[in-house]
């Protein structure tokens, strides 16, 4: 079932949590709502689930008006960050809950409930824990049970609120992959909320980046990472070096890519750390910088440099680092491979690959 939200506005007192947000999620798609805390992503998810009221706008399920349908009638599977398992019920009873509360006419027989619950527990590979209580499970196990519970009522939409936020890195990675597989098998629309960009980029078909109650950008993980639509997205997804209003010096052209700008104060240039090359010898347009710190992190080597008072971060491959043999205090020159310029915070980005690139 597809989900559509149209022009949703939600206020808490004078705080605007969502400001005229519209979004469409077709069946079969796994969408990530990504943003910093307080950006309204959880509120949007709760509005879709019917757990939160909205001030203006519409929620449509499969093209049908669902704005005022009660949460219990929306047929939405909801997974909470802190699992929200019924702590006084066994794992089996937790998963069976959605079936047991069905109206008598629709309620499956005890044997059918048993089969359904056990098959779901097998699906999440925890059938051996059926008689345990939530308090006896690890976090990852609890979240898998919570998912099985949500799936028991065969929801048409699966909503997950920071589902892996409370888990450690190893478990998270495993559950992410597992969620992706599960989603592909179910053929439903799924939305998950996260503040972890890596998680969003890795799992989702489409990423919706939110900030301060509105959507900054929607697109495939690759789109939002390689072609951020706003300065916020640039900064939120991955590391970036920001150059404010550079009018003079070697990178002056950054300011006026087409030579038409008069150098407004608000314009900024963004360069990702891996899009900068370090040179040992001076070259035209290259920026002089001093190496402050070199640190190898996994497959990359992170170099921190200063140009005048600015700090610039550069990521090199290990091979490149071996060639350069950088040490703190070295005088080097920097050349960007790609620069994105925003004339102002709201302006269209201008991507610009300098012609001097090697």
């Amino acid at each position: 079932m597809s989900i559509e939200v149209k022009n949703i506005t939600k206020r808490f007192g004078s705080f605007v949590a969502l400001d005229n947000v519209s979004l469409e999620i077709p069946t079969g798609e796994l969408v990530a709502l990504l943003g910093p805390s307080g950006c309204g992503k959880t509120t949007l998810l709760r509005i879709i689930a019917g757990m939160e009221s909205l001030d203006e706008g519409q929620v449509l399920f499969h093209g049908e008006e669902a704005t005022h349908v009660e949460a219990r009638e929306r047929n939405v599977g909801f997974v909470f960050q802190h699992y929200a398992l019924f702590r006084h019920m066994s794992v089996f009873e937790n998963v069976a809950f959605g079936l047991r509360v069905k109206p008598r006419a629709q309620r499956p027989s005890e044997a059918a409930i048993r089969d359904k619950v056990m098959s779901l527990l097998k699906l999440v590979q925890l059938d051996w824990l059926a008689e345990r209580y939530p308090s006896q499970l690890s976090g990852g196990q609890r979240q898998r049970i919570a998912l099985a519970r949500a799936l028991a009522v065969e929801p048409k939409v699966l909503l997950l609120d920071e589902p892996f936020g409370a888990l450690d890195t190893q478990v998270r990675k495993e559950l992410r992959r597992w969620l992706r597989r599960l989603h592909d098998e179910m053929h439903i629309a799924s939305v998950f909320v996260t503040h972890d960009q890596e998680e969003a980029l890795e799992v989702a078909d489409r990423v919706v980046v939110m900030n301060k109650g509105h959507i900054e950008q929607m697109g495939t993980p690759d789109e939002v990472y390689t072609a951020p639509a706003t300065p916020f997205v640039y900064k939120f997804l991955g590391n970036v070096n920001v150059f404010h209003s550079r009018l003079k010096g070697p990178w002056a052209k950054v300011e006026q890519p087409e030579g038409d700008g008069k150098g407004e104060g608000g314009s900024t240039a963004f360069v990702r750390p891996h899009e900068i090359d370090i040179l040992r010898e001076q070259r035209e347009h290259a920026l002089a910088a001093t190496v402050q710190h070199v640190q190898a992190i996994g497959p990359l080597v992170r170099v921190e440099l200063t140009h005048e008072s600015e700090i610039i971060e550069v990521e090199l491959t290990r091979d490149r680092h071996l060639e350069l043999q950088l040490n703190a205090g070295d005088q080097v020159w920097l050349l960007p491979k790609q620069v994105t310029v925003f004339a102002s915070a709201k302006a269209e980005p201008q991507r610009w690959a300098p012609d001097w690139v090697i």
Binding site: R74, A84, R87, G98
Partner: protein, 289 residues
Amino acid sequence: MKVRRAAAETPAVRWTLTAIGVGFLIFFLGLPLIAVFVEAFRSGWAPYWEALQEKDTLHAVGLTVLVAVVVLPFNIAFGVAAAWAIAKFEFWGKSLLTTLIDLPFAVSPVVAGLLFILIFGANGWMGPLLQSHDIKIIFALPGMIIATLFITFPYIARELIPLMQAQGREEEEAAVSLGATGFQMFWRVTLPNIKWGLLYGVILANARAMGEFGAVSVVSGHIRGETNTLPLHVEILYNEYNSVGAFAAASVLALLALVTLIAKTIVEWRMAKETEMLNAALPTEKTAS
């Protein structure tokens, strides 16, 4: 040289503090309890048993139980509703309601009794109306029930509010998203989660309902064999120099208190276990990001 932790007291200080604590307990709690039973059995078993068989005493026991039995269901309903509203919803006037729930703790029971006389008494606000319909509240059972309700109101709500706040709303939201109706949610999720806290509150409220003297004394009118609860009856017997009768009746109340204490301890123990489960149910893993 003996090494002592910086924060540790000397044995002398520890012993003194313990002695003061134990001494206080024996003198103010233990001795009176023993005295009640010693006085009750001063003339032996037979007079004690006879005193308990006395018609008015039996009636007082019955009335005390009746008041408690009527009051507790109301208290449970009000207490759960108020705690639920305060713990799980945001609404205008919430802090006022929270304060009002504590009012019976703050007001002297005698004053509370007088308040009800002012409202329902013959010369009170509603007196003429009640009289014209021949309804008797003051100096009758309804007045005693109302006064006891007022006095015992905070116990259950007070017990449940922090518990429900700690549990949050997520489990209930999960129940609703799984298709549960409001009633199913309450019955299958909310109630099982608060049952020990609720029982604890009921035990405290019950103890207070049976033991209440001041407020009930004011509204009861002390009609012997009619509106005398056990605590009031004890006073009357004592004032009549019927020491065995008074202490025999008091011993029933004391026994009741002991039963309450035992029940309370068992429930507390169960609650501690539940809290352990609650804490264990909270996420233990933390993310690095």
